[in-house]
Every structure is written in C-alpha cells, then in structure tokens.
C-alpha cells in the first residue's frame, strides 16, 4: 500500500491498538500547520475563522459518518468514557451494568464513580468467548440507570448485539453507553439505529492522528453531562463567583482542542469513504477468517477469539511477550499481554495472550508471514 509509507518494511498487525496513517492524513496535518493554524472560536480574523471552519466541518464529517445527532471531540475514547461516567448525575444506590469483556477504560471510570458516589457496578459474564446476553438481562433492576458496553471486544473480536441491548436498556429506563472503539474503524456504524445514548471511539484506530477521540450521541443525553474540565471555550458568562455553561458540544470541550488531529480525522474519514466501509469490512473479515484457518493448522496454538479483525491466541507453554519478541525479529508487530482487559483474562483463565489485529491494508502475505513465523516460535526456544 503506497499510501502508507511506514508499511514498506514491516508486517503491522497491531491495528486494534492503533492504525497507521495514510499520506493524505499526514499531509492534512502538515497543511493545517503550514497554512491554517490559529486558535478556533472567537477569533475575528480570517485565519482563525478558517481554522474554526475546518474544525466545525470535521465535526459535521464525523456526525455524518456515524449518523450521530451531536458530536463532542475529546482527546481519546478513554476521555469520552470518563466524561460520561463522571458527568452523569448518578446518585448513591444507582446501578450500572458493565461486562467482563470491557477494556479497562470502560471499567476504571465507573469504579471511581462507584467509590465516590456509592453507585453499584454489576458485571455481565462472558460465556463461550462471547457475551452471555441472558446474564446481562438478568442484572437489570429498577435501580439500573446505565449499561456501558463495548460494541466489539478488543480481545475476542466478538460483536455484541447492541441494538437488542439498547432496546432492553431503554425499556428499563436505563441509558446505554457504547464503546465503539473497535467497531467504528471496521464497519458502517449508525449511532441512531444502534439506539445509542452515548457512543465513543478514537480517531487513531481509524487512520487519524493520535490525540482525538469522539463522544457522540443524543443531544439531550450529552446535555445531562457536567463537564470533566472547565475553562476557556466552555462558558456563556463568568462572574467572580459563578459561571454559566455554554451549550453542548462547546461546554464539554473547554480548553484549546487538538485542532490539527481533528482536521486529520476528517481527512481519514474522507479516505475511508473513498475506499468504502463495505470493502473495509470485507477485507478485514476475510483476513481474519484466513488467519484463523492458517493458525488452526498449528497444533501448539490455542485461539481464544477470532472475528472482526482481531485474533487472540496463546502458543502452548510460551509467554506472549516471548512470542512477540520472536515475531519482532521478523519485523512482525503483534501485541502480547493482558490487552487492558484483566477481567476477561481472569474469565479465560489466562494471564496474557498474543493478539494479531488487521486492517484493510493488510494482505494475505502478511498473514502467511505471521503463520510461518509462529511455526518457528517453538524452534527458537527449543
């Protein structure tokens, strides 16, 4: 892929962590700093107005891309989840349903709130490497206020039935928060159709620069949140001892945002639309299936999950970091460890595993190299 200079000498299979950036995105960031850099909002000179326009056009592009009513830019998906967990007016005794397959980013903010406000966390189980939906449903009570759940697991790759869970949450008068970090890059997402009250994702997992994430959803829900940070940009009026907040999304974006990365995100979305999300989905799923087939012919490999661009596995008797280092010697980049999902590791009865994750720019040849190098792991350590 000539659009991705960095891929020339490496087999990059850590896309669930972050994707590589195409030249058009790198160029968009460069152009922004060369031609348009000025602080956004309230600048009355042309340069600032242009910068503001680029920022707001990017918001429009994101909003159209995922069909969301309202878009807030954050610095990461993690910040988006923190903003929701800490910003919702929850009180002592309120219950929040999470799952055992959540990334730590969708657990720790809720745990903090649980300790501070006395809310109660309930965890839906993982069964047969996917979500036990019946167990999740059994956790609802009249005190359930929120369900916060990943769309696609960053370890198992399984897709959770979000539309169904949204419907159940709403019929129980609970809000639904969706961590779509692993789905927005891979598939067409319609926030309204999913029934999401809140949905978060990060830009850097979908070709954009690091430093920009998205919190989007229903405007009336975003209006319920109190800001995580306050200061410049987020207010209507300031007195000595009080202030009044601006409307959403501005009130949740206090401080100078990462405008260049937001502009880069818009360029990334344009690039993805150029390829077509159906094609992205098809290529990622094809690679995943092919990799599953190749890896399953290796008897020392145990696969824990394999779908939607993610394959997690162990090599019998070998620590994941040794597997990673041995593959690294062949310029193959995969991730080992707990993948910020310690609850899931415990459910699976393991401490760590290896994860290979694909994006549309990966090739059959990449998978072949992975499989060939994995067959050497035992030899290297013999």
């Amino acid at each position: 892929m000539s659009d991705f200079p960095i891929l020339k000498d490496i087999v990059y299979l850590d896309n669930a962590s972050t994707t590589q950036k195409p030249l058009v995105v790198i160029e968009a960031v460069k152009q922004y700093y060369e031609k348009y850099n000025a602080n956004i909002h309230r600048g009355v000179y042309s340069l600032s107005e242009h910068s503001t326009l680029l920022f707001e056009n990017a918001r429009k592009a994101v909003s159209e891309f995922v069909n969301a009513e309202c878009v807030v830019f954050t610095k990461s998906a993690t910040e988006g989840l923190n903003l929701v967990a800490k910003g919702l007016p929850l009180i002592k005794g309120d219950e929040v349903i999470l799952t055992d397959m959540e990334h730590h980013s969708n657990i720790l903010p809720w745990q903090q709130v649980a300790k501070e406000k006395g809310i109660i966390l309930k965890f839906a189980r993982v069964k047969n490497f996917s979500l036990d939906v019946d167990h999740l449903v059994s956790l609802f009570s009249p005190k359930t206020k929120v369900v916060s759940i990943c769309h696609v697991s960053n370890v198992l790759g399984c897709e959770n039935p979000i539309k169904e869970i949204s419907r159940i949450a709403h019929s129980n008068n609970a809000l639904i928060v969706i961590d779509a970090s692993q789905s927005v890059p891979h598939m067409t997402i319609d926030v309204k159709e999913l029934g999401a009250d809140f949905l978060v994702f990060s830009g850097h997992k979908m070709l954009a620069p690091m430093g920009v994430g998205v919190l989007c959803g229903k405007k009336k829900c975003l209006e319920m949140l109190s800001p995580l940070v306050s200061g410049g940009g987020g207010i209507k009026n300031v007195e000595q001892h009080d202030f009044s907040l601006n409307d959403v999304p501005d009130r949740l974006e206090a401080g100078t945002p990462n405008v260049a990365s937001v502009v880069g995100l818009a360029a990334a979305i344009e690039y993805l639309k150029g390829i077509g999300m159906e094609k992205v989905t098809h290529q990622v799923n094809w690679l995943t299936d092919y990799a599953l087939k190749k890896l399953s012919s290796n008897r020392s490999i145990v696969v824990f999950g394999g779908s939607n661009g993610v394959i997690s596995f162990g090599v019998d008797g070998v620590h994941s970091h040794d597997v990673c280092s041995i593959l690294d010697q062949k310029n193959i980049c995969v991730r080992g460890g707990h993948h910020c999902a310690m609850l899931l590791m415990k459910q699976l009865g393991i401490k760590d595993c290896v994860r290979a994750s694909f994006y549309f720019y990966n090739t059959k040849d990449d998978v072949d190299k992975l499989a060939d190098s994995l067959s050497l792991v035992k030899e290297v350590l013999a």
């Binding site: 994941s320 040794d322 280092s325 690294d328 080992g336 707990h338 290297v380 350590l381």
Partner: protein, 125 residues
C-alpha cells in the same frame, strides 16, 4: 537483535536455585504489571553474606533466565555489595541485547531481590 541466546534459553529451561527455602531471613514477591510475570525469592543471610537463595516464577523466558542468573551471582556475596548494584550492573551480567520493553522482564528478579535486601516494597533501580 537476538535475545534468545543459548545461555538465556538454558537458564530458562533449567533455572538455577529454583524452588523454595525452608529457612530464610529475607523473602519477597514481586510482579510486572505489564505482563503479569511474577517472582518469589527467599534469601538466607548470615553475617552479612548471602548463603542461600531460591526463587520461583511465572513468566517469560527473559524474566526466568534473569532471575536464575542473578541468584547464581549473589551467592557468597555481601548484602552491602548487592544492595549497591545498579540495573546497568545487572544487565551487564546478563550480557544479552534486549529491546526496551523486555528490559523490565530481565530486571524483575533483580529488582525483587534488591527490595528484599533493602526491606522495602520499592527501590530505585
């Protein structure tokens, strides 16, 4: 870079001083949060000299080999000398090229051992 040299692999396959001491003066458990590697070490110190040491671990090749090599090194040495060792000293004894993220693996046993001698839960490495 080849961190899986024969001596490292040999220490990982057949670690020295692997097990548990019945009698010991110092004991420590430590882990690496990055990967979950764990190590337990016991030492028997007499008159300021390390007489016996044993370790057990769950983890990667590099961390197990590192623990094996440092336990071999410290037997018969004075506590004061070992307490003064730097991580560079440890990496020198290991004498293998490691990527940045694997240095922590290599130092797990060494850092745990130093913690036990200093009697603290954390020491500067």
């Amino acid at each position: 870079m080849n961190m899986y040299q024969e001596n490292i692999l040999e220490h990982s396959r057949n670690p020295s001083n692997y097990g548990v001491l019945d009698k010991f003066t110092h004991s420590v458990f430590d882990s690496n949060p990055l990967c979950g590697d764990e190590v337990s070490i016991q030492l028997l110190v007499d008159s300021g000299i390390i007489k016996k040491v044993a370790f057990s671990s769950v983890g990667c090749v590099i961390s197990r080999a590192g623990s094996s090599i440092i336990t071999e090194f410290v037997i018969g040495k004075s506590v004061d000398d070992i307490k003064k060792m730097s991580k560079e000293d440890m990496l020198g004894i290991l004498n293998v090229e490691l990527s940045a993220s694997r240095i922590k693996c290599a130092l797990l046993g060494f850092v745990a051992l130093k913690k036990s001698l200093w009697g603290v839960s954390d020491v500067a490495d």
